[in-house]
């Protein structure tokens, strides 16, 4: 082994270092600077609303059944036209996700018959105790489109009869 060999290696190694010194940096200055997430990223859940403001969630508990981490708790109640939360007879009067248990697998999203629960792009969850890791419905529901579209609200009688939007015939 020549004495030069380690020196050559050292220079080669440092060469790499110097090259990157002039490259565009990949580091993000989080939290000042945030990176855009991928379209199929699975972050904190959101409970969606229809355009008319009614909640999409019908309290069917299928998400809870699909959840491998048993992170979701749903309790249903009955809608009336006087006090309507969602279309149809049933709505979720309690909807909770334990974010500490959740493994962000997205199974709940797949199971939902109304596309109500959706994994969003927020990954910045922090809690100071276990209790606050349980997100109630109020935290999960997305804001209403306009202020008069809050739920529960009084609606015209006999219009919102179906919980699951009616299927249409394929047109092709």
């Amino acid at each position: 082994m020549s004495v030069l060999e380690p020196v050559v290696e050292l220079v080669r190694g440092l060469g790499q270092t110097f090259r990157y010194l002039f490259d565009r940096p990949v580091t993000y200055q989080y939290p000042e600077q945030k990176r855009e997430v991928r379209p199929r990223f699975r972050g904190r859940h959101v409970l969606k609303r229809y355009d008319n403001g009614l909640e999409k969630c019908i309290g069917c508990s299928l998400c809870a059944a699909a959840c491998p981490a048993d992170a979701i708790f749903v309790e249903a109640s009955e809608n009336t036209d006087e006090k309507r939360f969602s279309p149809g007879e049933r709505y979720a009067s309690t909807y909770e996700i334990n974010m500490l248990r959740c493994i962000y697998c997205g199974f709940c999203e797949d199971a939902c018959p109304t596309e109500a629960i959706v994994l969003g792009d927020n990954y910045e969850l922090s809690f100071t105790d276990r209790r606050s890791a349980i997100y109630p419905k109020e935290m999960l529901l997305e804001p209403v489109p306009t202020v008069d579209m809050t739920t529960p609200r009084k609606v015209e009688t006999g219009v919102y009869k179906r919980s699951v939007p009616e299927m249409k015939d394929p047109t092709d």
């Binding site: 059944a65 049933r90 109304t114």
Partner: protein
């Protein structure tokens, strides 16, 4: 034994009784033929076509009448078309194929048709998860429909069929199971089909809607989510529920139940009972439950539940420790010596009553059963023999029902007696007025209120009715408390026992006497030695009283007065009542759903119930509280293990000898098969995995001579002019503490009523619906007039437990 027939289903040979339907025979062979309209408890109708299979029968030579043989085997001729397995009875040598391409194609087609207009709202459907249509679609459905969505027929989705049951017309598959249940099993045809073809819809034919106390059962056997209960509506998904075996506490039938529980946010995060489901016991309730048993469970989760021991301090009840509360009670009981009285009701378990009786015996006091019905000594003597099964009575047997309206007092007995009558048993109903059971009776006997004993004694004279009863292979007598108080029921019981003895109908299975008690475990109370007291007010006055599981103050102003004059009152109960309000010490007990124990049914079947939900607050089981008090009185009573209390009980009471918790938990295979993965077959009734119970052997069955004590009945009251004879009758939905917290039943409970004959009403100048004041013996109350022309003009019928304290026939003024 009936003729047996051997057939082959999918290559499996099986021998079944002649007359069995192919679908049932397959089930017995462990082969599942999909069914919707077929139900093993109902007559076959063949309406849904789900059970299509290929059926072949041995070919006969027309000339010789011999079976045609082929290669040494009988030649099987198959029908060109598929046949329904649910309408074809088995025949010798039959060959059934359920798995062939042809059969599968037929089943697939049926599912496709059934789904053409089905809304598929499984996500919000209470049946989803235990739905036969879901299961059979997954297993036999085509997976794809050729029908267009736009052609789906839309019908009404939220139709209340009365306050208890909801109907979703889009989900109904027109199997008529509900209609047939009401017709054939309950004997109340209150449901029917309306319209034709695709528009066929279920309608209620009664007013008020779905007027039957068995309505909940239709939700169990409806193979889809068309019928659901208002009580459970959207309560939880079936897979989220836990199940625990229990016994219904509402009447002496002792129906086996399953309590479905879940943690609930609405209940502040507690684990609560979400629904009560039947649990199969073919000898008790089969697979049914009455609506009271199903919907009245809310009292155990009531806001009025007692959670902590309390002691009266400066006129007010204040929280205390268990130690202090039991000590105070013990001191007072000890000090009063012979003046110590225990008043307990049949709402308690056998173990509780046994500990109470032991305490009274050791302390030198008395233990009284809170009831206005006597005759429990006689049911222990000549009660129905071990092995009794009402479901086996039929042709050649007789059932006599005296002074009881079984429909209102013990609905499942009504149902079973009615079916025995359908099978050919001679049903004799003896009652002063018409009851629902009369429709199915071979003989109805009408006597006037007060002539009960005479009516029974008349069986001693020769008549068509008495002959039929005497000659019956098996005979059972039910006696109740309609129009009778303690003395009256004791006298009737003794007359009935005499009749049974004279005709040789005692000491055998399916023969003997049954008391239609007012509470679930009255029979158990009699077994451990508690007895009711004729003059309760006198027995309580000036005494140190330990009241357990009953509300005398709320029930009866006379008892309230007597207790005011009591030396000391300790009340042990699960709920706040008028009696706890006057108590010196209040001891919170656990409800039946929170602990283990046993009840003894009217048929003297000892059955176990199990803990389903955690206890309320600091409450303790009754037997434990009693043993804590006993300890402070230097009396040793078992107070830790309920099964040990039962062992001690079994050792000291003869009828219970050899019984143990393990024995009570034994099960045997039952038919029909229910509650497994294949809910489409028998419905959502739970399978019995926790014990069928054991029937006690009555003294007469053990042997030896039977002596029936004679009870002299007090002379019949003769009301003065301007007075009516007010008689107590029993009502299913009453204002008792175990019913009223169930708000759903409010409408069925209704107001206190007084039933009058049209003549009496005219004489008093009142009309139906008028509010009258009824008064007797220092008791008075308001009631709404009901007109009943099947009763006599001199009487007024007043239901028990509806706010007017009536215990026995009294002369009353009605204004």
């Amino acid at each position: 034994m009936s003729k047996q027939v051997t057939l082959t289903i999918d290559g499996k040979q099986i021998t079944v009784p002649d007359g069995t339907l192919v679908a049932d025979a397959a089930k017995l062979a462990g082969i599942d033929i999909p069914v919707f309209c077929h139900h093993p408890k109902l007559e076959p109708v063949g309406m849904c076509r789900m059970c299509l299979v290929e059926i072949g029968r041995p070919m006969f030579d027309r000339a010789t009448g011999q079976i045609v043989m082929e290669n040494g085997q009988p030649k099987i001729q198959f029908m060109p078309k598929l046949e329904t397995a649910c309408t074809n009875p088995v025949s010798e040598g039959m060959v059934v194929l359920t798995q062939t391409a042809k059969a599968k194609e037929g089943q697939k087609g049926t599912v496709e048709f059934l789904l053409t207009s089905h809304p598929l709202d499984c996500p919000i459907c209470d049946k989803g998860g235990e739905c036969p249509l879901q299961n059979l679609t997954m297993e036999h459905g085509p997976g794809k429909s050729r029908f267009i969505y736009d052609e789906k027929l839309h019908l009404d989705k939220q139709v209340p069929l009365g306050e208890l049951i909801w109907l979703d017309r889009e989900r109904c598959i027109q199997c008529a199971r509900c209609i047939r249940f009401q017709d054939e099993i309950a004997g109340e045809a209150v449901l029917g089909f309306d319209e034709r073809g695709r528009n066929t819809q279920i309608v209620s034919l009664s007013d008020p809607g779905f007027d039957s106390v068995f309505s909940g059962n239709t939700t169990d056997i409806c193979p889809v989510g068309a019928l659901t209960t208002a009580d459970f509506r959207f309560g939880a998904r079936p897979w989220e529920l836990k199940a625990q075996a229990s016994i219904c506490t509402q009447c002496p039938v002792g129906c086996n139940t399953t309590l479905n529980t879940r943690r609930e946010a609405k209940a502040g995060g507690d684990i609560v009972i979400k629904r009560v489901m039947p649990r199969q016991n073919e000898e008790v309730n089969e697979i049914w439950l009455c609506d009271k048993g199903r919907f009245a469970h809310h009292y155990v989760g009531s806001k009025k539940r007692l959670a902590r021991p309390q002691i009266r301090k400066d006129e007010k009840l204040a929280r205390a420790s268990w130690d202090a509360a039991t000590k105070l009670a013990a001191e007072n009981f000890s000090a009063s010596k012979k003046d110590f009285v225990i008043l307990a009701s049949g709402r308690l378990a056998n173990e509780d009553l046994f500990n109470l009786k032991s305490l009274a015996d050791h302390a030198g006091g008395r233990a009284i059963l809170y009831s206005d019905m006597g005759g429990g000594d006689l049911t222990a003597l000549v009660g129905v023999g071990a092995g009794t099964n009402l479901g086996k009575l039929g042709e050649g047997d007789a059932i006599l029902v005296v002074a009881s309206d079984l429909y209102e007092e013990a609905p499942i007995w009504y149902l079973r007696v009615k079916q025995a009558a359908d099978r050919g048993a001679a049903l004799i109903v003896a009652n002063p007025r018409e009851t629902k059971l009369d429709k199915f009776a071979k003989f109805s006997i009408r006597y006037s209120y007060g002539d009960e004993v005479k009516a029974v004694n008349d069986f001693g004279k020769k008549s068509k009715i008495s002959d039929e009863f005497a000659k019956a292979k098996n005979a059972i007598v039910f006696f109740g408390s309609e129009g009778l108080g303690l003395n009256g029921t004791s006298a009737v019981a003794s007359a009935c026992a005499d009749l049974l003895k004279e005709t040789g109908h005692i000491g055998r299975a399916s023969n003997g006497l049954i008391g239609v008690w007012q509470r679930a475990n009255d029979q158990g109370a009699w077994e451990v030695g508690l007895q009711p007291e004729e003059d309760l007010a006198k027995a309580l006055k000036g005494k140190a009283v330990y009241i357990v599981g009953t509300d005398p103050v709320g029930d009866d102003p006379k008892l309230a007065k007597a207790l005011e004059g009591a030396e000391f009152v300790a009340v042990q109960d699960i709920l706040e009542t008028a009696t706890t309000e006057i108590a010196d010490v209040v001891l919170p007990a656990q409800a039946f759903s929170e602990r283990e124990g046993t009840f003894t049914s009217g048929e003297r079947r000892v059955q176990r119930f199990y803990a389903a939900v955690p206890p309320t607050g600091d409450s303790k089981p009754d037997f434990v509280i009693t043993s804590m008090i006993a300890k402070q009185m230097n009396i040793v009573l078992e107070g830790t293990s309920v099964s040990v209390v039962f062992d001690i009980l079994a050792n000291s009471i003869e009828a219970f000898t050899d019984l143990s918790y393990a024995k009570l938990a034994e099960v045997r295979p039952q038919w029909p098969i229910v509650g497994r993965g294949d809910v489409y077959y028998g419905g959502t009734t739970y399978e019995n995995k926790h014990g069928l119970g054991v029937q006690l052997v009555p003294a007469a069955q053990v042997g030896g001579t039977v002596r029936i004590p004679k009870v002299k009945k007090e002379a019949v009251l003769r009301p003065k002019e301007k007075e009516l004879l007010a008689v107590p009758v029993n009502k299913l939905y009453d204002r008792g503490v175990t019913v009223s917290p169930a708000e759903l039943l409010d409408e069925r409970v209704g107001e206190a009523t007084v039933s009058l004959h049209p003549e009496a009403a005219e004489r008093l100048g009142v009309e139906a619906g008028a509010r009258v004041k009824i008064s007797f013996d220092g008791v008075s109350g308001e009631a709404v007039v009901k007109i009943d022309d099947t009763i006599s003009a001199g009487v007024a019928l007043v239901p028990r437990s509806m706010g007017i304290a009536i215990k026995e026939p009294v002369a009353a003024k009605v204004k």
